[in-house]
């Protein structure tokens, strides 16, 4: 039995010792916005925030998350209003098929939290662990830079 807070809601659930955090989220809590795109922890489609930091949820056991405060893509918007990062992805066409998008957004939010004014190069290097096959990254990078500017401007 572990207790995790996910998107501000507390869950006490039974998990196997080998259950991955992403399996807990997707299969048991039915939060399917977090995706699985590989099995070698490289694609980053499964990035969530654990205690405020971006983590590939396929690299973490659910039991390791006992007591943690977790935010998934479903918990980023507030009161129906998209987070500036989400809004910027839409504004700049930073997504196509949408599959890598949750991981991209979660990863990018963590970047901007750590570095409020990232350069284009810093954005590109930070996203090293997130693979997108659709966009060629062009518009993702634009979206992240734009969101950083919005967030700096204090809209959130």
């Amino acid at each position: 039995m572990i207790t995790v807070k996910v998107n501000k809601r507390s869950h006490t659930v039974e998990v196997e010792p080998r259950t991955l955090l992403v399996e807990l989220l997707r299969d048991q809590l039915r939060l399917t916005g977090t995706h699985v795109g590989c099995d070698t922890s490289q694609c980053g489609a499964c990035v969530v925030h654990v205690n405020g930091k971006s983590v590939k949820s396929c690299t973490m056991l659910a039991v390791e998350a006992d007591g943690a405060d977790i935010t998934t893509i479903e918990g980023v918007a507030e009161g129906g209003k998209m987070h500036p990062m989400q809004a910027a992805f839409q504004e700049h066409h930073g997504l196509q098929c949408g599959f890598c998008t949750p991981g991209m957004v979660m990863s990018a939010i963590d970047l901007v939290r750590r570095n409020a004014s990232p350069s284009e190069t810093e954005v590109r290097h930070w996203l090293e662990g997130n693979i997108c096959r659709c966009t060629g990254y062009h518009n993702i990078v634009k979206a992240v830079l734009s969101a950083a500017e919005t967030i700096r401007g204090g809209s959130r």
Binding site: H35, Q86, F89, H93, L95
Partner: protein
Amino acid sequence: MTAGGIGSPVKRREDRRFLLGKGQYTDDIQLPDQTHAYLLRSHHASARIASIDLTAARQAPGVVAILTGEDVAADQLGGLPAGWLIKNKDGSNMVEPPHPALAIGKVRHVGDPVVMVVAETRTQAREAAQLVEIDYEPLQGVAHLPQAVASGAPQVWDEAPGNVCYDWHIGDPTATDAAFARAKHVVKIDLTNNRLIPNPMEPRSAIGHYEDASEHYTLYTTSQNPHLIRLLLGAFTLKVPEHKIRVFAPDVGGGFGSKIYHYAEELLVLWASRRIGRPVKWTSDRNEAFMSDAHGRDHVSHAELALDERGRFLGLRVDTLANMGAYLSTFAPCIPTYLYATLLSGPYAIPAIYVEVKAIFTHTVPVDAYRGAGRPEAAYLLERLVDKAARQLGIDRVEIRRENFIKPEQFPYQTPVALQYDTGNYHATLDLALKSIDYPGYAARKKASASRGKLRGFGISTYIEACGLAPSAVAGVLGARAGLYEAATVRVNPTGNVVVFTGSHSHGQGHETTFAQLVVERLGVPIESVEVVHGDTDRIPFGMGTYGSRSASVGGSAVFKAMEKIIDKGKKIAAHMLEAKLADIEFSDGSFRVAGTDRAKAFGEIAFAAYVPHNYPLETLEPGLEETAFYDPGNFTFPGGCHLVEVEVDPDTGLVAVVDVAIADDVGVIINPMIVDGQAHGGLAQGIGQALWEECLYDDDGQLLTGSYMNYCMPRAADLPMFKVGNHATPCTHNPLGVKGVGEVGAIGVPPAVINAVLDALEPLGVKHIDMPATPEKVWRAIREARP
């Protein structure tokens, strides 16, 4: 331009659900009482299956059923069919070996599925599969084209001697020989086109659900063309009436061709569901995807170009080997023929062309269409050859292209390899791209790179592609076993809002936005009043799906045609209500009016009247306002353009950095420029990936060496620059929208530009040739080997 209509950069309507984590992909769906399947696959390239012992596996916890090829045969399931029949030079049919859903007797590639285990959970299915004991007798495998065609090579199929699937040709050999006989110069090149693994980020997944009471089958699947899958299930593999099958492809996380085909797993989950009476779900792991998703490319070619004394092209001869893999995937036979050889005139006027293509079986994953599909192979060959010709003859590489382009006034242009290009302006896209990259400033940039110890190279590619598959009658003559039209229904609700049901499938392309823009443009309703539905065979009349950049040109034209029928009917209703002659009714900006008067009925009023027909010509017209149209294109569409790349090579490490990319494409009329640019960006990343990093590697025996992201290099954000994307439209002349297609341009145009840039950078070092991908190791070796 209507606000929100054709030409508007409307923000995508599908984004919100994806950004909120509310997309619904196949693996997100959990049906009540669902079981999970795991497929045990061959780890041998070639082996005889001596025996399969399921005793221990059957005892494993949670196991519901274990099925083998014998069960598939016993239940008389059909093999996976090839959708295209290619004829040999002598008129005989290609070799079409069987393709059972689970291997029987022999396995023929790493990843060939052998046993299906169904259990209560995914983990239990996987663990039980580890207890299955298969006694393989390994046989010698063959993976690479040169070895597969050598005498004494291991045979993939007894019925395909020499591993030849077909031996095909196109063009005029006599005229081509004559062209070479009078040529002043002949330029020759040998090229490989590297095998790629498509890698959409969403792995394939399928859920089969058989309902006993109604004898209905529902398949949830990651497909680009659900109706095609239903047709193949009904007619060939599951062999039950089509009306008993629903295929639903919900949100699909990218396809790039790899999700066109009818895969064994789609059949297996439906069949297993029937056998056990519960839904069965299968989701691919990424490493499973590497050995079970159809691969792309994999050609070996020799080509010769004949030129006159001024560098004019006189003739082209091409001899290509194309790897089919171990089985024929759905569209495989048509890729190296009608989507490759027919494109070998490129944007050039070449009076005589002769192409020979041999398709070869090997002990590898089946090869089929991957973004571009045949056209990247054609563009790569031609553009490498033209660059080599420029160098050999001492002609400027921009000028040799400009001199040999088909001129704007030559359209429609009939090539010697079957296609007739309707329109284009290759000079315009060339000039636009050169301006965009600041070509005159290149010499200074090269000097600046040199001062940093880097070798700068400039690469050019001018390309043509064929999209908008395809005129059904033409395709039929060429061996297609299906029609290639598209269908759409436009339903106007009584309150005036509109639902479009399209056979095109959107898995990143943004049809929910662009198809709505067509409605805004033509019917004059606001975009908020339009909904686009796709992906569900129970809701959409029919469809051939999304591939070959056909959605806008064929699917969009079907929507347009259905709207024309809506307008025609609306005019009749309006004529009645306005007590005017039908011929006097005009429709524009969302209102039906009597020409030359201010008497008018809004679109919404006509819709309402159609459903509340109190004042309505009931004796001559049915109530309701819903129309279906099928659009069969009159020709292919021919996007083209110019892609320019500048690279910096580090001579010490061989690392190639792409420092600038400027492209100018002619994709015809643009519905949504934001989406069009995005499509170009994505194609460029995949094209640059092919040129520099991506390669599916097998060892000589057929063992897969690149089975995960640990050893298959995907382009990352830090590997790519911002792209300069420009457009110059010459509208398509034969579809009502004037659109050509944009989905594949990047993947087609850019690979030769990248390699031409690398070779340009390395020219001072004496490097004359390099094959894709130009990895640091390969470039480093080329530099070392070229040094005196």
